[in-house]
């Protein structure tokens, strides 16, 4: 069953805020504490907020299980793929080929304490995004599947 109107409305309003906050944590993984795993957990909790505020049938209209599954697989493939590109470039596995190169995420950092610039760190932001996508899909789908088990058991 769905919860009351106040909770549903607040879930609608908070979902976007939690989403952008989780993206902020994922994106700033190489500057602040946090990163892919933590930000993915935050975004997955946003999905859990929507799941708890509405009934199971309404949730199925908003969140697709197949999409989340695809998202989880795509995250892992992207993570391994970024590591594999380094082999294709003639270096070792997990080599950071973008760092200090001047292209995307390729600015260099002076030694010592400084405030940090987003456009640094090479492949690390890409890996953070990949892990974030994976964790988001995985944790959301665990909650969704457990809820589906409950609501199917009620009907039988």
């Amino acid at each position: 069953m769905r919860m009351s109107k106040i909770v549903r409305f607040s879930a609608d309003m908070l979902f976007g805020a939690i989403l952008i906050f989780g993206f902020y944590i994922i994106m700033h993984g190489h500057l602040t504490p946090g990163g892919g795993f933590q930000g993915g957990a935050v975004v997955a909790t946003g999905a859990a907020l929507v799941i708890v505020a509405y009934s199971y049938e309404e949730v199925l209209g908003m969140i697709k299980k197949a999409g989340l599954m695809l998202q989880e697989s795509a995250g892992l493939v992207m993570f391994a793929g970024v590591a594999l590109i380094a082999i294709g470039l003639g270096t070792t596995f997990f080599f950071n080929f973008l760092a200090n190169s001047g292209s995307l995420f390729g600015m260099s950092v002076p030694y010592g304490p400084n405030s940090g610039e987003l456009n640094t760190a090479g492949v690390l932001p890409l890996m953070n995004i990949a892990v974030g996508i994976e964790v988001w899909g995985g944790l959301a789908i665990v909650i969704l599947y457990m809820l589906s088990g409950i609501s199917k058991a009620e009907e039988v």
Binding site: G29, A66, A99, Y111, L124, N128, V131, K152
Partner: protein, 94 residues
């Protein structure tokens, strides 16, 4: 009977752990040279301010790959278990 036995085991285990904890030299690890290397060269090599992320995703990237695989496997396990439980649900997952 069983409850008192479990309490005794818990107390023994606690004494065991605290005996270990007394002998720990906390905050004075052995010299390995690895951590100094990370702190000295992390900012220059990887161009990152957050050394923790540098270690997690670059110097120890394989560990993170393993963690991701563990999470993936766990989620696949949950999905398989509930998919077997829910027969009528299979068509919408295709």
């Amino acid at each position: 009977m069983r409850k008192s036995l479990s309490i005794i085991v818990i107390i023994l285990f606690g004494i065991f752990l605290s005996l270990i904890a007394i002998d720990l030299t906390f905050g004075v690890p052995d010299n390995t040279g690895m951590d100094d290397y990370f702190i000295q060269n992390g900012q220059e090599q990887i161009a990152t301010n957050n050394i923790v992320t540098t270690v997690v995703f670059d110097y120890r990237g394989f560990d993170t790959l393993g963690e991701s695989t563990v999470l993936f496997t766990a989620v696949i396990g949950v999905a398989l278990m509930y998919r077997k439980l829910i027969k009528g649900d299979a068509d919408e997952n295709e």
